[in-house]
């Protein structure tokens, strides 16, 4: 929070840009060595959609990590939101309701379910401070996922031929031509949400309170921040973002809803937010970093997949390595400067000639 030179204040973001550039160069070289042009900006953008699904969750997760909390139930919250939407829609239409209004209500129900999941997490965490957020949300994750199976069983709800549900497919598959590049609308949605989150976190008093809580929860409370209420609200927002992810996911899965969808998405969301600069200990981070981090994940997955022929699951190997290395970087820098200091002290001691007692 100290005013520093921009280079220092945004050192993490510069590091991410550097990482992105390095990846891009490696892929360009590989691409041109194969004599083909499959890796370029336009193709990259059009292939990004599938890697954007968890980006909305990552924005919500950034809020939670910024307060020093964690929420590993977002994947299950998203699936539950989708399940509620599907089940509600089916029962409303089979009850004779017109498709349009039923769909609108179902979408609202989806978003409300996400909020409710977040509310439950936030309530438990702020009410029972002796519980770790990790354990609370592990519990709710299992609970939400269990609910999905209770609603759906092993069944897949299919709305592929429903004209109203095609809206979700369009939401996910649509693109906007800007110059010669077609940008998927999902990227624009993400950037829109990211802008709102950026303003909230870095320009408004809410963001200040959020980082204050992450830095020192007790002192924040004594300084008049309504910690419990604020924290609860942020969990609700996180749940809402999970439900937003769910809407895009339904579009991606050609308007189907299954109980085992979006497994492990919470881990991607956490990974993206952490690489973006939101550490699990709270108090710091920048939304610009999260945007860059989403791009890095997308570029890596896309590049390693199409150029090196790795399957999506194998690519995770590389993603994991990058995540760990990037997270270690500050520690490594610190370690080196500490070593330097020790060495200096050593020479100081040697400079002092010693006699024997």
């Amino acid at each position: 929070m100290k005013r520093k030179s921009p280079l220092k204040a945004y050192s993490w973001e510069f590091m991410l840009v550097g990482l992105l550039v390095v990846l891009w160069i490696i892929f360009e070289i590989k691409d041109s060595s194969r004599g083909r042009d499959v890796f370029n900006f336009a193709r990259m953008m059009s292939g990004m959609s599938v890697y954007m699904l968890y980006s909305f969750m990552a924005l919500g997760m950034a809020l939670i990590l910024g307060m020093g909390d964690i929420d590993i139930s977002v994947g299950a919250s998203a699936t539950l939101s989708a399940a509620v939407m599907g089940v509600l829609y089916r029962s409303m239409t089979s009850g004779g309701m017109a498709n349009g209004p039923a769909f609108a209500i179902a979408i609202l129900a989806c978003l409300a379910t996400g909020c409710l999941c977040g509310f439950l997490n936030g309530f438990l965490i702020t009410r029972f401070r002796e519980l770790f957020p990790m354990i609370v949300t592990l519990g709710t994750m299992l609970f939400f996922r269990g609910f999905c199976y209770l609603f759906l069983g092993g069944e897949t709800l299919k709305f592929e031929n429903d004209a109203t549900w095609a809206l979700l497919k369009k939401l996910y598959n649509g693109s906007i031509e800007i110059g010669s590049v077609s940008f998927p609308t999902i990227i624009l949605w993400f950037l829109g949400f990211a802008a709102v989150f950026y303003i909230f976190l870095h320009k408004m008093s809410g963001g200040r309170k959020l980082f204050a809580i992450g830095e020192n929860r007790i002192s924040s409370r004594c300084s008049g921040v309504n910690v419990d209420r604020f924290e609860l609200l942020m969990f609700v927002v996180c749940g809402f973002m999970a439900a937003v992810s769910a809407l895009f996911y339904i579009g991606c899965a050609s308007a189907t809803v299954r109980a085992d969808a979006m497994q492990g998405y919470e881990m991607y969301a956490i990974a993206v937010a952490v690489l973006g600069g939101f550490s699990t200990s709270g108090g710091k981070g920048n939304i610009i970093g999260v945007v860059l981090s989403v791009l890095i994940f997308g570029v890596m997955k896309k590049g390693l997949g199409t150029l090196f022929g790795f399957s999506d699951s194998t690519v995770n190997l590389a993603v994991g390595i990058v995540l760990i290395l990037a997270s270690l970087l500050p520690n490594i820098v610190q370690y080196i400067s500490h070593k330097k200091q020790l060495k200096k002290q050593q020479t100081d001691i040697q400079a002092f000639p010693s006699g024997k007692p």
Binding site: M204, R208, E215, N216, I218, C222, F352, S354
Partner: protein, 512 residues
Amino acid sequence: MAEHLLEMNHITKVFPGTKALDNVSFNLKAGEIHAIIGENGAGKSTFIQVLTGVFQPDGGEIILDGKKVVMSNPVVAEKHGISAIYQHPASYPDLSVAENIYIGHEFKTGPFVNWAKTNREAQKTLDSAGANFQATAPVSSLSVAQQQLVEIAKALSQNARILIMDEPTAALSRRESEELYEIAKNLRDKGVAIILISHRFEDIFGLADRVTVFRDAHSIGTWDIHEVDEPTLVRHMVGHEIGDYFPAREPKIGKEVLRIENMSREGYFRNVCLNVHAGEIVGVTGLVGAGRTEVIEALFGVTGADSGKVFIDGKEITGKRSPRRMMDLGLGWLPEDRARQGLHLRWGIKQNISLPIIDECRNGLFIADEKERAISEEMKDLLSIKAPSVETTPNELSGGNQQKVVIGKLLAAKSKILILDEPTKGVDVGSKAQIYRLMNDLVSQGKGILMISSEMPEVMNMSDRIYVVCEGRITMEAPAKQLSQEDILKAAMNTDSERRCESESEKKSADS
């Protein structure tokens, strides 16, 4: 045998940019308690670290038993019989006392620890130091004073001849401090030399044989304790007259601004009644752990109270209390533990001061940096916070300046009633005097102050009225002028009596 057990001559230590010690000389006799006092940053800590081998001096010599020695690292210093104990004992709470004392050099039979012998020897050392607890007890079950005794026993088990006590009583209540005094005197009589570092004059006059004053990296002088008095020492410490250490004030007591009626919390405090008037400083004292801080936490709604009423400006505050709500009602709170409760240590002074009023530091929806800056600059000037800029983080500031930042938060929030919990804890003499003057200024502007303090001189000299708390109950209330130190101590340890408070309704029925 040489006259002095330890002589340190012309010690100089230079850090990049500053001279931490400049030609400092110091000596120590066997069987004496030698106090070192000085403001924060005067070089006391560096001096001790040179003696214990943490730092190497850039000049000067250390002579032990008449022989020149080099403390090349802390282990060497320990071998020479020099041990230090600190304000917060660094022990292992889940291990037993004996394990803590002999950790790293347990008595062994083959590869196994000989627990019987370790425990027996530990008990012997403890008894010789005057302990009243068992060597097999877990350290977590002991009081802070007892834990310090464990540290002392640890030092004795390593045959310490020179014991350094760095602010040993800062975390102790009065009773515990007195226990520690006895232990220290006992050790002295056995021939151990003790270097005592303390901000508390009570420690120094109660314990020390000689005193050395440090100021600005120099040792100003050494005196026998009966040659000097407190004002003289203070003058040497700050280098000039402080004027009135406790400035005089003509109290202009106004109407009641805060009243707590019969507040109780099971297991912590019972039937607490107190009130504060505009223009009044009310002192609340008692032993540490008597429940004073808990009452304040309940007042601010951090913890609940089982029963009780709160009135501000004569109006009852009903419903749930929270720090935010109480602040909006005009209460400001300086918590006891400023690092944990009062400050965001890694944030700038500016962000710290603006946090309680961040919703007012806005232009429309967005935080207005110029408003934050204006209010924090104003507070920095008003409170004369010594810092390069308002971007400086409190963890780079001295205790006194950190405390001023917290006070700045209360003033920025325009609090009318200030609750100050140990306002001068860990604050050096110069800043203390500034804080006292500031408190006087604030009450003369019509604010009310409720000051919780364990420091007797502060309570006696600053307060208009004093409440004494013992085991969660108020045992005495009286104007400060009518009380002596003995009265207060008696009330602080009076576990039998309880002062009943009369609520307004009871008063009326008594009148009729």
